[in-house]
């Protein structure tokens, strides 16, 4: 019986972690290519609004999810044109992207406030899903969760096991050197930015289609910023991003229970706990592992203009 309670908790933890995994793994790839996109929050919430709107119009969760990813991709394309194409300042462009995304999401979502949908369907395999203790955790999630886990593995494999991944990391390390070798710095960076945007949009769509299946302005509640912090403190390593996201999810669930139990602490303080705990844990993790070289992609945030 306690096994089932534990499973219940773990399922909610994973659900809370999923949007961070999605947005974080996308941003990780972007930063590995040397681009710092601070617009994750904006792309996420725009993805949430568009995803919910599309799903309401079509009645299809799949189309909603695709719409969310597409919305994030669209915003990131704008960011990519500015920073990769026109060599605009990445910090300023990213911050404006967040503001733009917040505004656009309010516009798109205005007529959907207060509506509800059924959450995204969960996997159900007779026999397996009903397994005591682990069935729901392993075989009873919605498609977003499986996709998020799959993406972590895929990005890890891509970065460390493929030639294109090597080229991407090299470009993130030194764009001048890689350009001199004839590698296509701007193309790789632009595609990375698009991938990051789609991931962030998908993470937002997960919130409005599966986690809490309704639209509310500002519903991402800073998760985009947490995803950004996760990438840094995870030392740009995919598995650590997932671990950090799970920790955040765990702290979120824990503080909800603490609020329900009425600990007498202010609710706002408890709501802040997941954010504090995640950052603290990752800071501790990233301490003392620096033997030399730089953990961050060395060209991160630096504008690149090819020589004539």
């Amino acid at each position: 019986m306690t096994l089932d309670i534990l499973q219940m908790v773990l399922v909610t933890v994973l659900a809370a972690a999923t949007p961070l995994i999605l947005a974080g793994i996308g941003e990780l790839l972007v930063e590995r290519s040397g681009v710092l996109n601070l617009g994750v929050e904006g792309m996420m919430i725009f993805g949430a609004a568009v995803g919910f709107a599309v799903a309401m119009q079509t009645g299809s969760t799949l189309l909603g999810a695709l719409g969310g990813a597409g919305a994030g991709l669209l915003l990131s394309a704008l960011f990519g044109i500015l920073t990769v194409g026109l060599a605009a300042n990445q910090v300023a462009s990213g911050l404006s992207l967040t503001i733009l995304g917040l505004g656009l999401s309010g516009l798109v979502g205005a007529s959907y406030v207060g509506m509800k949908r059924d959450p995204a369907p969960h996997l159900s395999i007779p026999g397996l899903t009903d397994l005591p203790g682990i069935g729901k955790l392993l075989f009873g999630q919605d498609a977003f969760v499986y996709l998020a886990v799959g993406l972590v593995a895929a990005v890890w494999w891509f970065l460390w096991r493929t030639r294109t991944g090597l080229i991407l990391r090299a470009i993130g390390d030194d764009h001048v050197a890689t350009h001199a070798l004839g590698l296509q710095v701007r193309k790789v960076r632009f595609l990375s930015v698009l991938f990051g945007g789609a991931c962030a949009g998908l993470g937002g769509a997960y919130l409005s289609l599966a986690y809490t299946p309704f639209w509310a302005p500002g519903m991402t509640a800073g998760r985009g910023w947490i995803a950004l912090a996760l990438v840094v403190f995870a030392s740009w390593k995919p598995v650590r991003v997932a671990a950090g996201a799970l920790l955040f999810g765990g702290a979120t669930v824990l503080q909800l229970h603490a609020q329900a139990a009425g600990l007498g602490l202010p609710g706002q303080l408890l709501s802040a706990v997941p954010y504090l705990a995640t950052i603290l844990a990752l800071v501790l993790l990233s301490l003392g592992q620096r033997h030399g070289g730089s953990l961050a992609p060395a060209a991160l945030g630096r504008v690149f203009t090819p020589s004539r």
């Binding site: 030639r163 090299a170 001048v176 070798l181 004839g182 070289g293």
Partner: protein
Amino acid sequence: MDAAPSPAIGIPRNEGPTPLFGAYGIVKRFGSFTANDGVDLEIRAGEIHALLGENGAGKSTLMKMLYGLLEPTEGVITHKGDIVQLPNPEAARRLGIGMVFQHFSLCENLTVAENIALVMPKALSGKALAARIARLGADYGLHLDPSRPVWSLSAGERQRIEIVRCLLQDPSLLILDEPTSVLTPGEAEVLFTVLERLREEGRALLYISHRLDEVRRLCARATILRAGKVVGACNPREETARSLAAMMVGTAVREVTHRKRGTPGRERLRVDRLSLPAPGLHATSLRDVTLSVAGGEILGIAGIAGNGQAELFAALSGEIRAPSPEAVRIDGQPVGSLGINARRRLGAGFVPEERNGHAAAPLMSLSENVLLSRYATVPLTRFGCLKLGSARDLARRVIDAFDVRKAGPDPAAGTLSGGNLQKFVVGREILAEPGVLVINQPSWGVDAAAAAHIRQAVIDLAARGAAILVISQDLVELFEMAGKLSVLNDGTLSPAVPSAETSREAVGLLMGGASDHGSAGGSLPPVHEMAPVPLPAHAH
């Protein structure tokens, strides 16, 4: 550019065999600036061909076009007599052209194997690639550990990566841009052996260097560029270093002259047992550095980059404070805990190694750059407001005195060529008539004429009674300028020895870390005590 080269641009048919690679009538314009103007170059298999020229003569532009990084505005490139297009480096590599860059094109945080895999035509498994690196390394004496990250390697090792990376693609033409500028004499010898071996194998090599003695040793043919045009071709072995330099510059290069050295004056710069922890990740710690320079004296500090030069310079200039005020003294005054401007007010001047970004702010104009280092000692402000006119006058005086060539009246520092910017930053300090001048790599990457000008100005300043500390890894330069020499190796400074009493070989050996007779830290022995200099280590 996009149109196929018109047949009107005939390929001159020279007597002799068809060259392996040819470039004919190459013109490259950047806006209104013509970097290459009708350049012809023929490279034959089995030769090391030298490309000589001053900074800004158009050597790099020409090389970049041969490697597919730039497209010629006009002209054709041929391979075995056929006209070829080189739209990108990939295409150049397919034709068998490899390039070893002067500023290595390596990613510091990737491993050796990863850096090499970047340009291999198709993905090789890590093991297969490591095996090929090892085989090639054993074959040519270019040993590399494929799993080491590049940031942990010395300049010589980094260059080895670049060479191995080219050789793995079995090139028929290897382009080398200033390959010895970062190497110790010993490392350079190893490189020469490899290059001669490659020539024996029938490959063509295009060798760009400022060091004319190297060119004379390696190359049987040279093409000389001046202001974007070919001004001559010769056999460097039949020329002297001076006649080659004269061809590059167009006029005879002045030889550096020393005024007669009087007895050294009083001690003006003193460093006492200065120890500093490494200030950063890739930095070197200084250990018990002691030195003394008297007025009228030039002390040269030899050493390979990365052995504490940057740290020593920073400690002398005040960019890093010494642990105690007495560790550094200028004219007897303890300055170890003073900042850079306080030291300037005591009559010191500093010229850092990196022109762009350290000695000068590349995006700011020359007059603004004068302000940056001189406002502390010259009244260039009034009530906190800049006196731009005075700054411009001062900049003009530097420009006139040091023959700085530039475009426009007051251009951004970054638009000057390397040699001219170096003349400017050196001149800026020398015109202040410092009593103590610390100068790091005075003529790094600077052509012969500008280097001679800079060295002469420094020598003249010493003759006027200043104490001068020159940090350099160019031994020719040090022996030309300095009266005394020390070697900085791994943060430890050897005792100074009069340069007339030691030899380049002895200094080179110490630079490589060989401490003589096993004594800790190492010191420069007088020549007659030197053990015979071992021949360059061919086998590692």
